[in-house]
């Protein structure tokens, strides 16, 4: 029921447009995987499409080049808006022509992208006792 497709970055937007015209009404999920020191190229974008009329799913996998930039599909699927912002926030991947590419879950001035594999957990010490009081 799930069809997996490997797409190149250059063909990505065209392929999504094709899917949209072929009855895939919904973009249900967009996320990325960081293959740090395991695979080359490092980042992979995973996009899941759902056709409610045909009861079918398509999973598109795009291996990103080193520029970490890919066309935004928000103009085709408005639901991609929040997902692309989340991937930008968590992985630092740039989506070209996105209407409002800002951090969505982390604070705006946050340094780094938390879901990258080289972003260590416990990097920032949290102090519970004797914390300075707020004025």
């Amino acid at each position: 029921m799930v069809e997996n497709l490997d797409i190149k970055v250059d063909d990505y937007f065209q392929k999504v447009e094709e899917l949209k015209n072929n009855g895939f009404e919904m973009m249900v999920d967009l996320t990325a995987v960081d293959w740090f020191r395991k695979k080359e190229p490092r980042f992979e974008l995973v996009v899941n499409f759902l056709s409610v009329s045909k009861n079918k799913r398509v999973c598109i996998k795009v291996k990103l080049t080193d520029e970490l930039s890919i066309p935004s599909i928000t103009s085709l699927y408005p639901s991609a808006n929040f997902y692309e912002r989340e991937v930008f926030d968590m992985f630092g991947i740039n989506f070209e022509n996105h209407p409002d590419l800002t951090r969505i879950l982390m604070p705006d001035d946050w340094v780094g992208h938390p879901l990258r594999k080289d972003y260590g957990t416990g990097r920032i010490p949290v102090q519970f006792k004797n914390a300075p009081k707020v004025d």
Binding site: M1, V2, E25, M26, M27, V28, D29, T31, V33, D34, K38, V46, N48, L50, V52, N55, R57, C59, Y77, P78, S79, N81, F82, Y83, M90, P99, D100, T102, R103, I104, L105, M106, P107, D108, D109, P114, L115, T121, I124, P125, V126, Q127, N130, A131, P132, K133, V134, D135
Partner: protein, 451 residues
Amino acid sequence: MEENNEILKDVDFWATNSEEGGWNISSTDEGSQKMLEDEDETTTKIQMGSEVIDDYFIQDDISDDERMILNMGPQHPSTHGVLRLQVELEGEVVRRVQPVIGYLHTGMEKTGEELNYFQGPTNTTRMDYLSPFFNELVFSLATESLLELEVPDRASTIRILMTELNRISSHLVALATGGMDIGALSMMIFGFRERELILDFFEKTTGLRMNHNYIRPGGVAADLPDNWQKDVEEILKIIPEKLKDYDEMLLDNPIWQGRLKNVGILTTEECLAYGVTGPSLRASGYAWDLRKMQPYSGIDKYEFDIPVFEEGDVFARWRIKVLEIFESLKIVQQAMENMPKGPYKIQDKKITPPPRKRLDESMEALIHHFKIYTEGFKVPEGQVYTTVESPRGELGCFIVSDGSSKPYRMHVRGPSFCNLQALPVVMSDSPIADAVAAIASLDPVLGDVDR
């Protein structure tokens, strides 16, 4: 006290790295998420919800003096948690909406990479805190699909029983809080009263009222308690009676109908474009339910209907939740009557821990127990995206395994996160009081949004 401050100066942590040693909170102000007076055309369209269908009614006679941008939330009871909305008002009418989220972000996807598959459900169950069983189920189904496991019939049936009861309790909260937002305060008390019945049963079975960690890869954590049928029968008897009260009090009530009909309309086209699933999609006229279309845990064996409404307004979204409770009760009834006998988890001791008493008798049991609780079990390489129909829509879990005992990447597709994008559509061009009703009808759970 001064000595303490001396030490603190050397500590490099984010909240206290200002020069005085105090909390540096000015830098985390709204920043670029701020709604501007004049945005560019695309952003304005998104904020006005006229991206898909341009049904915005522009009133020219309103002066700029009556136009203001203000914040709703994050600490506001009608925003169901910590949702913050920046709204631009023209007099009393909402013109633009910008949802600002992330106040409950706790990095659960990152945490999921640190926990092994056996510990995974403890993490995922905390995401959507009103329907924890669905989160555990989708994680377990994803893991089992990577392991190519079939769980025993009894485990599947217990899963269906618990998730459908959970759907009832979740919808009851949606009805209760939704009623409260609109001003029907007795609905708040009624909804939570009936939910208590179900939570009592959950507590008896799993030991906890929320965040159960009951459904685990390989089956469920424990068998149902003795005389569980009695409790379920009581639920099956009492809830339909109480639902009739709701109908009498609200659905047939002309004030209630006048308040909610033709408010916050979502069309099918908009639902599909914004990825809105679940009751909101079905209330907009599209009969899409993953339980029927892409069944999981053998739910295709049960007889139930999918209620559909054409209107797509707040009233339809309210009614559909009441009707879905009846359908879930049907499934619970069938699951109770046809509960198969047998093991409640798979007997592969590499994946599910052996019973406690076996540890005193068998060396192998001790080894398996030790391995599972220290290292966990290894899952073959692969990627999988599984879905279940949660009370809010399509709940998906995307797991990438690299062959170790921890997921390499764990991503949860929360339905609330996606449904929130439709907020500008339902809220804009309506009075602020209707906007509150529209938020309540979409039923967002912020734990699921921010993860």
